[in-house]
């Protein structure tokens, strides 16, 4: 049977995952655990190809914007990463009294998640990207078929609420770098529902 998720990720993994792991030391064990515990039906255990190294957001973007990488994911990735980077270096108070600037860690994690989403769901439209007064990053989709908000907190976690294709999906404390929740993919693409229909 055609496995959308495995197919799309396998084509992007050689490019995306080494860079993601380079930015998140120790992430490999987390991914393996979540994969086994939550989505055993998908054999997508990630194996880091590089040893973890330190990297700045700037280097991360330069690395990720190589043409061969862009071709593996959505057309909007480059512009979206540039938008995220545009928030770097802002001072506290940039949105008014009491507002916080995003940390480099928050922006880096937002970029990681964005890349993962674009690799796994390449047909998604461009997300709206913002940083709120608390300094958290938001990835947002607002189309006739999909309304989704993902909040990235800069502590290695994100939350989301997504409504699309007849599916409502929500979760807290999801880990940056781990496999995307199946329910999130389903609500954003309708893919698993389509597979189930075809299988039946």
């Amino acid at each position: 049977m055609f496995d959308f998720a495995t197919t799309t990720m396998s084509s992007a993994m050689p490019y995306v995952l080494p860079l993601m792991f380079a930015l998140q030391p120790g992430a490999s064990s987390v991914i393996a655990l979540r994969d086994a515990a939550e989505q055993p039906q998908l054999d997508r255990r990630a194996v880091p190809l590089f040893e973890p190294t330190e990297s700045s957001f700037h280097n991360f973007q330069i690395a990720i914007l190589q043409p061969s990488t862009i071709s593996q994911s959505s057309a909007w990735v480059e512009a979206a990463l540039e938008k995220i980077e545009s928030y770097a270096g802002l001072p506290d108070g940039w949105r008014g009294e009491g507002s916080f600037a995003p940390t480099e860690q928050t922006l880096q994690e937002a970029a990681e998640l964005l890349l993962q989403i674009s690799a796994e769901m390449p047909d998604l439209p461009r997300p709206l990207i913002s940083v709120d007064e608390e300094g958290f990053a938001c990835l947002h989709w607002n189309t006739p078929m999909l309304l989704a908000t993902i909040s990235v907190y800069g502590d290695g976690t994100y939350s989301f609420f997504s409504e699309g294709y007849g599916v409502v999906s929500r979760s807290d404390n999801e880990l940056i770098g781990a496999i995307l929740p199946q329910s999130l993919i389903e609500s954003m693409t309708g893919q698993y529902a389509l597979e189930a229909t075809l299988a039946a």
């Binding site: 007064e133 608390e134 958290f136 607002n142 309304l147 989301f160 609420f161 409504e163 979760s171």
Partner: protein, 158 residues
């Protein structure tokens, strides 16, 4: 307990001031979740999203608020280049549901210099965060019209 006079009628539109360019997507002119501050939606007493009812809102007051907000942003005055207004239907906000519960209520908070001032409250009885907050912001984004400039907003409402 609020009396009925503190509840704006369902028929009014609620004007949400959009004073920061980053809260609007340039390409599609859609508001982003960041327009709605988390601390305004926690459900805690005294927290609410500030809006103005369109039937009695004065343009001069809205412009003054926008200017004051922009001035607080590191001394930069954004108002002259930006500042827009989005509309939310009062009834639509009150009717919005999640898990079978009404998500929001709307009350009037008239001020001396702004009798049109209202607040959108989260109906949650526990402080919200994470995906619950994402849901509320999703709903409010969905209910907010594409923002327009002051001239267009007031010519339409006149």
């Amino acid at each position: 307990m609020l009396s009925r006079r503190h509840l704006p009628p369902n028929e009014v539109k609620l004007l949400k001031l959009v004073w920061h360019p980053d809260d609007v997507d340039d390409e599609h002119n859609l508001v982003k979740p960041s327009l709605f501050r988390r601390e305004e939606l926690t459900g805690l007493a005294g927290s609410f999203v500030s809006v103005d009812r369109n039937d009695i809102a004065e343009r001069a007051c809205m412009e003054r608020t926008a200017l004051n907000q922009a001035k607080k942003a590191n001394g930069k005055t954004i108002f002259r280049e930006f500042a827009k207004i989005g509309h939310l239907g009062c009834e639509a906000v009150r009717s919005s549901e999640g898990q079978g519960q009404k998500l929001f209520s709307v009350s009037s908070f008239p001020e001396d210099d702004n009798p049109a001032h209202c607040g959108i409250h989260s109906n949650s009885v526990v402080p919200l965060r994470g995906s619950a907050m994402d849901q509320l912001r999703n709903e409010l984004v969905k209910l907010t019209s594409p923002p327009v400039g002051f001239d267009e907003a007031y010519s339409t409402d006149a």
